[in-house]
Amino acid sequence: MNDPLSYNRVNPAHRPSFFSSVWSLIWPARPLPEQSRTTAQKRLIFSAALAFSCFAVIGAKAFHLATTSKNTDTEVYVRLTGADRGAIHDRNGRVLAQTIPVMTLHADPNQILDPHEVANKLSALLPDRTSGEILTALSRKTRYVELDRKITPRRHAAILSLGLPGIFITPSNLRTYPNGREAAHILGQVNRDGRGIAGVEKSMEDKLAAGHKITLSIDLGVQAVVRRALAKQIKTFEAHGGTGLVTKIKTGEIIAITSLPDYDPNRYATAKTEALFNQATKGVFEMGSIFKVLNTAIALEVGSAGLNSTYDVTRPLRVGSFPIRDYHPHDRFLNLSEVLVFSSNIGSARIAEDIGPNIQRSYMDKLGLLERPTLELTETAQPLYPARWGRLSSYTISFGHGISVSPIHVAGAVSAAAGTGEFIAPTLLKRRPDELFERVRIFSDETTRKVRSMMRLAVSHEDGTANFAEAPGYLVGAKTGTAEKIKNKRYDKTANLVSVVAAFPINDPEYLVFVMVDEPKPQEHSYGYATAGWVAAPVIAEIVNRIAPILNVHPIDINQPEIRQTLEPDLRIGEKGAIRASY
């Protein structure tokens, strides 16, 4: 027991007492030297393994962090709330519709301590809303009340500085239509979620929502001229409304399209129902004598009539009990051109008789008058026409009764008859210069040339019905149409729908202009007339005079021999005794 290290050594023979057992837990006995070495080795290895695994984990993590990148797929750095909705431009790149970021002011009524105080403070900064209105809004039992959809940056700062709890400002987007009422019906509207609900906004939703820009065929300047000229005449003649249309004949592009009354698309919610209706594409009307252009063209094309054909218009044409009369009867036979220029219903019916109902119907079909137009709008109309296209129907349709079509239908059909002879479906999208599109040949050049000459005479001849459509130098050719509106299932003589379709320059037509005025009232300055020649024709003249320089149409010297030749001026018109036709 003299070993100095043996003082605490356990004597195996010695049975440990309870005390020594507890003590050995606190101060364990020193093991034997050989035993101690292996223990130390084990401990060393264990510690080394622990340290190594710690560093291994740290190293692995560091390696992982250094070599892998952040998951960028879930990151969103572009607001997906419609900020990217494509703009709508006119054919010259002017903005018609644009999405801009705005700040929306809203409140959570639950968090508002004193609604009266908040309402008073806010009403000073929100000019559109009174304190009472704000108070009612804040008293609603909801968690979200919108107070203003678009606040200006200055008001934004002022509202923030009020420091009102429960009042929030969040960024959102606003679809703006900077030109107000111009082309409102065509542009349409988006709902609160930024989705198109009307017009091009709806029909082009997929493209716009994907951020694509849409370039329309509309020319904003021409659009403004047409709208203004039409609005002025509607006011002068105390009319209900009207439609104006300008199309490019050779491509079918719609340059201007307006329907009055209209509305401000920036204040869609306040628009009246009748103002929201697009008469130019969705309204169908009996167009009246404008159809005589088509009737004459069909007769010339199928060869059932020639320039020398004459028609007995001296007495009304009776079909059963239904008499077809002329507004101003003629006491002699009229030739083909006179029927059109003097707008004789009896003559047109007799021309239709020679064409036959089946051929007439097939041509009307080819001219797109029996189907919904393939326009880039959802607001289009299905024409109304008799299911049984008999003899009587063919007579009335020859002068535009018994068939109801939209102004856009007329533009397409008359473009073919008075233009290139090819039917081109009207479009609202700008065409590329090299774009190929469908053209259906319907009339020969010979036919269209004759039709154009007659339309020119309706303007230039002293007894023509469209004298007031003359725009000196621009060689306007036109045809008027005055149709009585149907009220209570009868034609109302006092309610007219007057329209004029014109093309210019008529020797080689570039543009077609259509004007329709709904229920003009006779005026003193119009000598009590409210017919197309008095109401719509002057609008044509004004529009042509104003838009020709914009559209780069040069004035023409009418006395040039080539022009005279292309128009065949020696159509026999108005022999002695001819009576001035009013429509």
């Binding site: 572009v78 002017r94 903005v95 970021p101 030109n179 403004a224």
Partner: protein
């Protein structure tokens, strides 16, 4: 053997460093790209606002009202527009010598 192990270690270490550096560069480029994209989207938004404002102040209705009130101008009539051929061409210069007068 130990030399080979050391050489491999050096190669591994070197390539690791290069990998790490290039990754860092790519990361910082991405960061730049993202901030540029953000700048572009902000600039686009601003451009949209400016375009809309420009369209608003140049809307035909306003221009027409302003021009009719402030300018003494009338719509151009067709007799004021002439084709280029209608303008007489300048007469050809007479081929005379100033000094000799011939």
């Amino acid at each position: 053997m130990i030399r080979l192990v050391l050489a491999i270690c050096v190669v591994l270490g070197g390539s690791g460093t290069v990998l790490y550096m290039s990754k860092q560069t790519v990361d910082s480029r991405f960061e730049q790209l993202r901030s540029l994209q953000k700048e572009i989207s902000i600039a686009k938004e601003r451009a949209n606002i400016l375009e809309a404002e420009w369209a608003y102040v140049t809307r035909p209705d306003r221009i027409l009202t302003l021009s009719s009130g402030l300018l003494l101008m009338r719509p151009i009539t067709s007799d004021r527009i002439l084709p280029l051929e209608a303008i007489p061409m300048r007469r050809a210069k007479p081929q005379t010598n100033i000094r000799t007068g011939q």
